[in-house]
């Protein structure tokens, strides 16, 4: 049910998210730091998983950047995955989702 709702939202928001611009370089550095340290506390510093699932490219295969960005912004209700929208803009989330999918993160 929650999944379907998320999907419906993604279909509506997806194009808007996908069109988001890249964050500036200084912000990108902050985001990579956040990804390693803060996401890392649940997903592992090297994203191989922890309390949260692994976030390596193979794990995200078949998941759209927009959907991943949406999960990051909205969280997964009833689980420890928090909504990051108070901390991250749409473009931040899309940029992070694309980095995760491509695996081009230090």
């Amino acid at each position: 049910m929650a999944r379907t709702a998320a999907l419906a939202i993604a279909l509506v928001l997806g194009p808007a998210l996908a069109a988001a611009a890249e964050p500036p370089a200084a912000r990108q550095a902050e985001l990579l730091h956040l990804l390693e340290q803060d996401c890392g506390s649940c997903h592992g510093l090297t994203r191989k998983g922890g309390l949260g699932p692994p976030l390596l490219p193979a794990d995200l295969d078949g998941k759209d950047v927009a959907i991943i960005a949406l999960v990051i912004l909205e969280g997964v209700h009833g689980t420890p995955m928090p909504p990051w929208k108070s901390e991250l803009s749409d473009e931040d989330a899309v940029w992070l989702a694309a980095r995760l999918k491509q695996g081009d993160v230090p």
Binding site: L34, C42, L45, K48, L51, T79, P80, P82, W84, E87
Partner: protein
């Protein structure tokens, strides 16, 4: 003559190193999570003695000590179990025992190390001397063979351990007189998503914090047949929880007198619980989502740190008045705090300052700064003599 001098020189240098005999009561380790190393520290001169490298992925690493206070067992996220000699400052043994681990514990007799694994979900037992595996308790939670992640593993009196099954919502208690054939007791349906557990300092009550609902599950190990109880039920009272950017730790709860101070999940509050009745007696509003609440050993103060984005703040609570008496910004990204056993120093790690900072909890003045690579957990060897640590 020359030979004699040489012998003398060798003897002298040997005597010099033997002259460095020392105890471990004032030693400890700091986890350097980015570099996979441990810094060995001492709390008398407040210095780093050396660094032990090659420990692997130490994100969320934790440490317990052998009963001699000399050996530290390090549980790495990558499933490695490492044994470090504090006096020689060297890695003496290391085994990769699982794919993804979360923590561990040492039995009361010091002979068994238990490791709590996410992958494969369960608890594995090792000989504390050799690190050879001597037992395995997969966290099987359904007939379909799925394994649950395990969390909140602690030692309990009577050569036992207690832990929780995150996915399954269960608490398990095991006695390991024969590690290959443990006597297990399962408590199903304790609540949704237990995320951490801890034991009271006397080893009697095991508590598991629940993520999926507002509440804490409690097992009285003196009365195992009574089963799990639910305490602090619905402490959120239906309010929409705030986002939790980092899992709080029950491992760091604070016990001061008859009261426990627990981080609330999804609320910027500490819950104060009367441990005679297991009832909430107060809530203390704090600066953010609390992660660790630690009591000064005399019980007069409780110190709290916070999740992102408040992780540069530390607050000090006066226990009798339950008032926040100081809000400090001691460093950037404060991940962990540890008191010396008699409470005259508070050590904290400031990850983004690459420093361990030592404060005087009486004057709140900074008394030392020790450089460290992205420090996280700080563990002092005095833990060797405490239940559940």
């Amino acid at each position: 003559m020359r030979a004699l001098l040489l012998v003398l020189a060798v003897l002298l240098s040997w005597a010099a190193s033997a002259g460095e005999l020392r105890g471990t009561g004032d030693l400890g380790v700091v986890v350097e999570r980015a570099t996979g190393s441990l810094l060995v520290v001492e709390t008398t001169g407040r210095t780093a003695l050396g660094r032990v490298e090659g420990l692997g992925d130490l994100s969320h690493a934790s440490v317990v000590f052998g009963r001699d206070g000399r050996h530290a067992y390090v549980f790495g996220r990558d499933g490695a179990l490492s044994k470090v000699d504090l006096l020689e400052q060297r890695l003496t043994r290391r085994v990769v025992q699982a794919g993804n681990a979360i923590g561990g514990a040492i039995s009361d007799d010091g002979r068994l190390i238990a490791v709590s694994n996410y992958e494969p979900g369960g608890v594995r037992l090792f000989d504390a001397g050799t690190l050879q595996q001597v037992g395995d308790v997969p966290a099987r939670w359904a007939d379909d063979g799925r394994l649950s992640k395990t969390v909140g593993l602690v030692d309990i009196p009577g050569r036992g351990f207690a832990w929780s099954l995150y996915d399954a919502g269960e608490i398990w208690v095991g006695r390991f007189d024969d590690p290959a054939r443990p006597a297990l007791r399962r408590y199903p349906n304790v609540g949704r998503l237990p995320y951490d557990g801890n034991i009271t300092a006397d080893g009697r009550f095991y508590l598991a914090g629940l993520f999926g609902e507002d509440g804490v599950a409690l097992v009285d190990l003196w009365d195992p047949d009574a089963g799990p109880r639910r305490i602090l039920d619905g402490y959120g009272r239906g309010e929409e929880p705030l986002p939790v950017f980092k899992m709080p730790h029950l491992g760091g709860w604070a016990a001061a007198g008859d009261e426990l101070f627990l981080p609330a999940v999804g609320r910027h509050e500490l819950l104060v619980v009367d441990r005679r009745r297991w009832a909430e007696v107060a809530r203390i509003p704090v600066a953010g989502q609390p992660v660790f609440a630690v009591a000064r050993p005399d019980g007069r103060q409780v110190w709290v740190n916070f999740a992102h984005p408040t992780n540069g703040v530390v607050q000090v609570i006066d226990v009798p008045s339950r008032a926040v008496i100081a809000t400090l910004e001691p460093g950037r990204a404060v991940l962990h705090m540890e008191f010396t056993p008699r409470g005259e120093q508070l050590w904290l790690s400031a990850r983004d300052d690459d420093a361990v900072i030592v404060l005087d909890p009486w004057s709140l003045a900074r008394i030392a700064t020790i450089p460290a690579h992205k420090p996280s957990g700080i563990f002092l060897a005095a833990r060797a003599n405490r239940i559940g640590q």
